[in-house]
Symmetry: none
Subunit: 208 residues, 4 copies
DNA sequence: AATGAATGAGCCTTCATTCAT
DNA sequence: GATGAATGAAGGCTCATTCAT
């Protein structure tokens, strides 16, 4: 009589499907990925997608939500930040990098969604992304000081976030341009650099 | 009975097809774009694609090659830059924004290539991207001074480029998070901000 | 371990299923009706149909049989008719209309059988229709008098029955041609008209 | 450049498909009929239906239109009727019977549609049925005289039409009830009877 | 050179049914 | 006795492609 499917078996099948779908969607894109490939990889019948997710797109939406959910670890949102605003910003940047571990299809799927959003993204952007954005904006607002207007806060936030995002979403392009980059430069190096580079930029914005 | 099709009518049909295909591929991606949509937009019969390009993928390759030619042709790459390195960097940033202005499908097609590389990507990287990168690296090397090592140059370049790329590559995501951003903040504003923010960051990198 | 399912719970579930199936089969027909719609309306699990009736068609057969039982049970068939043959005919016509009143799915199910006979049709004809026909023939034979041959009785019976049948069997077509017909003209009006029209026709058949 | 497909080849394929579809739809109903059965019978590829009719239902609509078009021969609508209104009515009734020749699937399809109309019927009822109805109404109005109101005209028309319709749309049911009816009673006999029976009924309607 | 007609392959989805619990 | 989970078969439809003209 309950709509919520929470049996162990169901949950396990859903998990297998999302995992398999994530890989296939990442490798081939929403359209080129076929139900057959996904269900074959998951080791279930093709009708299972209809049973568990109603249709292909609903499965895709579940994959996107799962990827975002995993990536934006929500425990971290409510973590108490300490120290100066600058220290808090640095910690935030390190957190973003730390979040990018896990199956590599997550970043690929999200890169697609960010570049060309589908309805799947709209369904979760408010719930899963906005809180992070607001947190970032607050810290930046503190660094810029009370004289900064909203436009400046926005521009600054874009500058900070873009540096992180670029590093893991455009991984493949970067690797082609600088083959050894990920050997010579760990993610900690990169986070360290971005923090310092950005804080300098932010301070400069106040200087006039 | 020559294989080379070079009379006027044929060339005109090919041109129309590439133009139409470019828009559709940009809007929907390689797989979601259908022959019917493309030929309808071009105002020709659906068999025309197979006739002129052998198959759909061959058409796509032609489109990518065309977009590439168009953008590489830009005299701007070989334009003489003047002024201090900082002024040159600023000009480069403005050029990047200017390149992506207008309702052109060329950048979108290339974005697709980044997200889901096909055989065409290698050419894109080497012919279009690398010259820009090298130019950028040179200027940054000048700003950082002779004490900077390659790793620093690379990190700095990524920081600068990422801010520009993010602005038009993740445009749709940004629009969802900040609905009026593209009204309140013109691309000139943005380029201005990125230039100043980055130069501050770069100067900070020398300071220790 | 008996095959005969006759405890209370089982009987109740069967009853709910037949009722729900009757409505759905009537509204959509045998093929368009789906197990899911039926079980949803009955408030039971979709496996219930296979459990209680072995398969979909067996359920359909049960529904037809049920509808038949219900209608044949009618005391009206064996009701004593009084008055002149003409009065009896009029009463018969009113009875036909009265049988089809109400939001019952029984007549609709039977109409489906007429349009696309399944194995269940034979039973319908012999058990439900033929008694009515014979009764009708008897009365008409009385009105036409002893000089009428069987062909005339048959033709006359068809004329009378067809007018009634048309009114509810082709109801939807009539509604499309004369949108307000069922407002302006009650079934009593219609029965009254058919009785008078038919009796005039019948009398004319004797007149030569 | 023209949307109207009127090549000989196209027309021939369309004709074959409609003929095959008519038989299958009549035998199995809209839902149970499958594209495979239809195209197999027509000797064409399954995709042909999409090409010529867009989808299964559009094919069905074409079949219904074709059946009605064939049945309501339009030359007859504009035929000059002569003689008294009673003679004209008789001629109309004979025309209706004459129209029912042709492939037997036509009547079956139409019987379904009249009993449970789909959108296919709505699309053609005004164009193909209404003119016949109006013609019939006009003649009946003449017979009933100027004192008759619209309700009476409607009831009378239903009485006349129903007798004809019943005879060929419920053929199967009639045959089961009176096995030899179609041997003993030709359609001319039946038309003759209906005309006389109805005219008596109509005259009776004026008599008070 | 170009096109309307036709096709085969494959995709997503639905459905009735079965199985383990 | 009853059900949630899972499945195989089949259906309608779309697509890129080919063929005859």
């Amino acid at each position: 009589m309950t709509n919520i499917k929470n049996n162990a078996a169901t949950q396990e099948t859903r998990r297998k499907l999302i995992e398999a779908a994530g890989e296939v969607f990442a490798a081939q894109g929403l359209h080129a990925a076929t139900i057959k490939k996904i269900t074959a990889k998951a080791g279930v019948n093709s009708a299972a997608i209809n049973y568990h997710f109603r249709d292909k797109f609903e499965l895709y939406a579940a994959v996107v939500r799962h990827a975002l959910d995993d990536m934006c670890d929500h425990k971290r949102i409510f973590k108490e930040l300490v120290g100066t605003p600058e220290q808090q910003l640095k910690e935030l940047i390190f957190d973003m990098f730390e979040d990018t571990r896990g199956p590599s299809w997550r970043t690929t799927i999200l890169a697609h969604e960010f570049a060309q959003p589908t309805a799947a993204l709209d369904a979760v952007v408010e719930e899963l992304i906005r809180p992070h954005v607001q947190r970032m904006d607050n810290i930046i607002r503190q660094i810029l000081g009370s004289t900064a207007d909203e436009k400046q806060v926005l521009q600054a936030a874009l500058s900070v976030v873009s540096q992180c995002v670029h590093y893991f979403y455009n991984r493949e392009l970067i690797r082609r341009l600088h083959p050894q980059v990920f050997d010579k430069c760990t993610w900690q190096d990169m986070a360290e650099h971005i923090a310092r580079f950005s804080i300098a930029g932010l301070h400069d914005m106040c200087s006039q």
